[in-house]
């Protein structure tokens, strides 16, 4: 295997293995956190080798390191690379009928930057004083060399910089690819919703990831070169930098990052509910437009993360309005999905179940987020597990389920073999239900006042009674971890002896399924297809009547009705063609 092959499908597969590996690592770290909250200070089974001093029990520094690394790995090295690196790289060129990405070698560079970052993250576990432990946000002064003096923090900061550079590169690559490399006839109105999601998210990547890179680079200079961008605290000593500036920079990236992760997920949900309801996506233009509005607003809402940082109340009010405003386009999308499902011929395949699961967990996450967008309710809830529950539902559970929706859907195209449907459904359903258990439990604990990041919450008398709740939540988490075995078994089994499938097992009309075999050849399409209609040409009476099936390829022209009528319309412009009625 050529590790520097620049074919987008090869790069996608590399990201897939890397992302799944980090997902596993991040998940195990999450289970350790849950163990600590269920059994504070008790030795974690099987960890005695890593922490001999405490016989495997979490110590406060180990605990801070674990929750820091969990967040950081999940966001920068698992979910983002899986959504963009794996699914994005694979699907985007195929979906628009391109032969590859606009800059194939740039995507190789991007992957190896990501891999370098991943190596530094793994390496940080082995250095003296442990890995990063300043929280995934790396707020100064916690992230300065005074409070986290370990080399691990520095390594991880460099790793984040690498991941940021990699995201920027594929973001740029995707934007140019969608703008410049669409197949003939692939107008903007015929893109799949997934591509719309990836495109908008890539725009956000290009705009806001450099902000993170800048903040991280300045932080690194503070750590290594003795600069004082963020360290001293202007208020404290009347000089030097201001730690709050970092928070502004971080969240100017951090909030759009939520949409960077969820926009592709929304796109996939939009496509899958149409594909598996066997109906055109309801309000396709509105859905795509709503995604655009979310994208436009996403950079203008970041300061709701700073309501409790001493920001001016006037600013707080402005950001509150903008934040709450962003829920409107999301509701438009939701309504469209529901309208698509309405009276559809719903097929509960594994990608569909995962898409529905995404809708449910994201819906709940969105509703619980309203209380954090409004200043008055954010102030008491901000420091609590409520925030953790909310953001895990939106960013964790929803992105995770979307990743698996995409993976189950495109896996046959990637490898030519279909994952076992039964195992896949069991995996998706159990994961979705257990996500609700885990993050619902966190919401409840947060509402009861349990603060975030506490090593041992029960040291506070008023939180002592939450131990049983946390133990139940942890039990759900352990079961959730165990449920992932279903996927691992399925993956291993399928890759070795799974069912070989044809070009279009899901019977949908988009280009990757109708115009190229599974897996596609090096150049994707030969010849490049000419696109005739939108992606959701499903269950049109005319198609049923003339082709005997309920779907039609994006580049498929109607067969000649008879040899004697050669002047038949090609159907350019979609399904409104007059067909063969001469």
């Amino acid at each position: 295997m050529n590790l520097f092959a620049s074919d987008h499908k090869a790069v996608a597969r590399r990201y897939l293995w890397g992302g799944l590996g980090f997902l596993l690592l991040g998940g195990l770290l999450a289970l350790i956190i849950r163990w600590q909250w269920a059994y504070p200070g008790q030795p974690v089974p099987g960890l005695a080798w890593a922490m001999p001093e405490s016989h495997g029990a979490m110590t406060p520094p180990a605990y801070t390191a674990v929750f820091t690394m969990h967040g950081l790995i999940m966001i920068f090295f698992a979910v983002t690379p899986l959504l963009f690196g794996a699914l994005g790289h694979f699907v985007l060129p195929l979906s628009i009928g391109a032969r590859g990405l606009a800059f194939p070698r740039l995507s190789v560079l991007g992957f190896w930057l990501y891999a370098l970052g991943g190596a530094l993250v793994l390496g940080s576990f082995a250095v003296r004083l442990g890995p990063a432990s300043a929280g995934w946000t790396s707020y100064p002064p916690l992230s300065t060399s005074v409070f986290t003096p370990s080399l691990g923090q520095t390594l991880v900061t460099v790793a984040v910089l690498c991941a940021a550079a990699s995201s920027f590169l594929y973001g740029l690559n995707f934007v140019v690819t969608v703008v410049r490399c669409r197949a003939p006839g692939m107008t903007w109105g015929r893109l799949t919703l997934t591509v719309w999601g990836l495109f908008f998210a890539s725009v956000l990547n290009v705009l806001f990831v450099p902000v993170l890179a800048a903040a991280t680079a300045l932080l690194l200079m503070d750590r290594l070169l003795g600069t004082q961008f963020f360290i001293a605290g202007a208020a404290a000593v009347g000089g030097g930098g201001d730690p709050v500036v970092y928070q502004h920079l971080f969240w100017l990236f951090g909030h759009p990052e939520v949409y960077i992760l969820i926009l592709p997920a929304w796109g996939m949900v939009g496509d899958f509910v149409a594909f598996f309801s066997r109906k055109p996506a309801h309000g396709y233009r509105l859905t795509a437009g709503a995604m655009g509005v979310v994208t436009a607003l996403s950079g203008l809402v970041y300061a709701h993360h700073l309501f409790t940082s001493g920001m001016s109340p006037v600013l707080g009010r402005t950001f509150m309005v903008l934040t709450l405003l962003i829920s409107l386009p999301a509701e438009v999308m939701y309504l469209n999905w529901l309208m698509t499902l309405w009276r559809g011929s719903v097929r509960l395949t594994s990608p569909m179940l995962a898409a529905l699961g995404t809708m449910v967990v994201f819906g709940l996450g969105g509703i619980t987020g309203l209380s954090l967008g409004a200043v008055a309710t954010d102030v008491p809830l901000h420091g609590t597990l409520w925030v953790v529950g909310h953001f895990h539902l939106t960013m964790g559970a929803a992105s995770f389920l979307a990743v698996f929706a995409g993976l189950y859907f495109w896996f046959p195209k990637m490898f030519g073999r279909a994952l076992h449907e039964g195992l896949a459904k069991a995996h998706v359903v159990s994961s979705a239900v257990l996500f609700l258990g885990v993050f619902g439990g966190q919401l409840a604990a947060g509402y009861a006042g349990q603060l975030r990041r506490l090593y041992d919450p029960y040291q506070y008398t008023y939180l002592k009674h939450l131990l049983p709740l946390n133990q139940w939540t942890s039990a759900c988490a352990f079961l959730l971890g165990a449920a992932q075995v279903l996927f691992i078994v399925n993956l291993v089994w399928t890759l070795s002896r799974g069912r070989v499938v044809g070009a279009n097992p899901w019977k949908v009309g988009t280009l990757e399924w109708t115009c190229t075999p599974s897996p596609p050849p090096a150049w994707n399409y030969d010849p490049v297809p000419v696109v005739l209609r939108g992606p959701h040409a499903l269950s049109q009476p005319e198609v049923l009547e003339r082709l005997g099936r309920d779907w039609m390829g994006q580049a498929e022209s109607f067969p000649e009705e008879s040899e004697t009528e050669p002047g038949q319309a090609e159907g350019v412009g979609g399904m409104s063609t007059s067909g063969g009625a001469a």
Binding site: P60, L224, D456
Partner: protein, 327 residues
């Protein structure tokens, strides 16, 4: 991008990352009591110190950590080798046991928490603390002043009665604590008590026994670049009806995983009264007054501590104020 160019870039980034603070190396530490602390223990201690202690006590052990700024009392500087609760005669170097007790229990009412750190880490960090002050190489730690058997067992009211005398009266085997701490008897009762104990009349009209006076402390609140103290502060002796005592917890709390009983509380009071407070004006009382009086003091102070936050305490304070105003 070619593989070797990529490798070069990776190498450069990694080198940049590695130039952050190098791990210090340690020589084995030879203590005055003959023990030699292996370098490995010191290295572990350094790591533990960095994680748990350095943000307040400072990387140099000078009490000037960034999180310690603005704390009152200020975090201890380890460079003078002065410890408040050393379990030995005030001014001598503390025992390991006393240091470990402070570490495990924390200091009540201060940001010094009860550090639930693995045992081996506690031992390591205690040895590491000794690298900050040269005293440890020259002086052995003092003799531990452990509590003697309680002579008042089962006779609590009697002990409190005796303790009251020991506390308020100076001389003749009494401690006269009220000369620094405040008195808890109205003027008339105080005069009567003194007369009874000393056999002569004492003129209290010129003194104010109800306002505690700040006393000199050797503890540094500011240090120079070398960690030498440039400024010390006076400290106020605690008023037992109000102030949380650093080494004593409310009865019924859980301390070191066990319920904090009246006996344990008394023992802790005894320990501080007997040993004194290192670096502060509170002297070592063990040997200065009879052992039974030491214990009686513990009983009496405990009776005051029990009053904290009660109406009785407020009433007593009110009585003391009015008796003070009469003069």
């Amino acid at each position: 991008m070619s593989a070797h160019r990529f490798a070069t870039a990776a190498l450069l980034l990694s080198v940049a990352a590695c130039s952050s603070k190098p791990a210090p190396t340690f020589e084995p530490l030879k203590l005055a009591d003959g023990r030699v602390i292996p370098a490995q223990t010191l290295s572990r201690g350094h790591a533990v110190y960095t994680h748990y202690c350095a943000s307040c006590h400072g990387e140099q052990g000078d009490g000037q950590g960034p999180a310690g700024r603005g704390m009152r009392p200020v975090p201890r500087s380890f460079r003078q080798g002065l410890f408040k609760f050393g379990g030995v005669a005030a001014g001598e170097l503390p025992t390991d046991d006393a240091l470990k007790r402070t570490l495990r229990r924390g200091l009540h009412g201060t940001p010094m928490f009860a550090w639930d750190v693995p045992d081996s880490d506690q031992d390591a960090v205690i040895q590491y603390l000794k690298t900050f002050s040269p005293r440890w190489k020259d002086e052995p730690p003092g003799q531990p002043l452990s509590p003697t058997p309680d002579p008042w067992k089962g006779r609590e009211p009697e002990a409190v009665e005796r303790g009251r005398v020991v506390y308020h009266v100076a001389g003749a085997g009494n401690a006269g604590c009220a000369s620094c701490h405040v008195a808890y008897l109205p003027r008339a009762e105080l005069a009567a008590l003194m007369e009874k104990a000393l056999g002569r009349k004492v003129d209290l009209s010129k003194v104010d026994p109800y306002t505690s006076q700040p006393r000199d402390s050797e503890h540094a609140v500011a240090v120079d670049a070398k960690g030498e103290p440039t400024q010390t502060a006076k400290v106020l002796p605690p008023d037992f009806l109000f102030h949380p005592l650093r080494t004593v917890w409310p009865e019924g709390d859980t301390v070191e995983g066990a319920p904090y009983t009246a006996e344990r509380q008394r023992e802790d009071l005894y320990r501080v009264i007997a040993a004194g407070v290192g670096g502060a004006a509170m002297p070592t009382w063990k040997g200065a007054i009879p052992e039974e009086n030491l214990w009686a003091l513990a009983y009496y102070v405990q009776s005051l501590v029990r009053l904290q936050d009660t109406d009785e305490a407020r009433a007593l304070k009110e009585r003391l104020r009015t008796s003070s105003a009469v003069q």
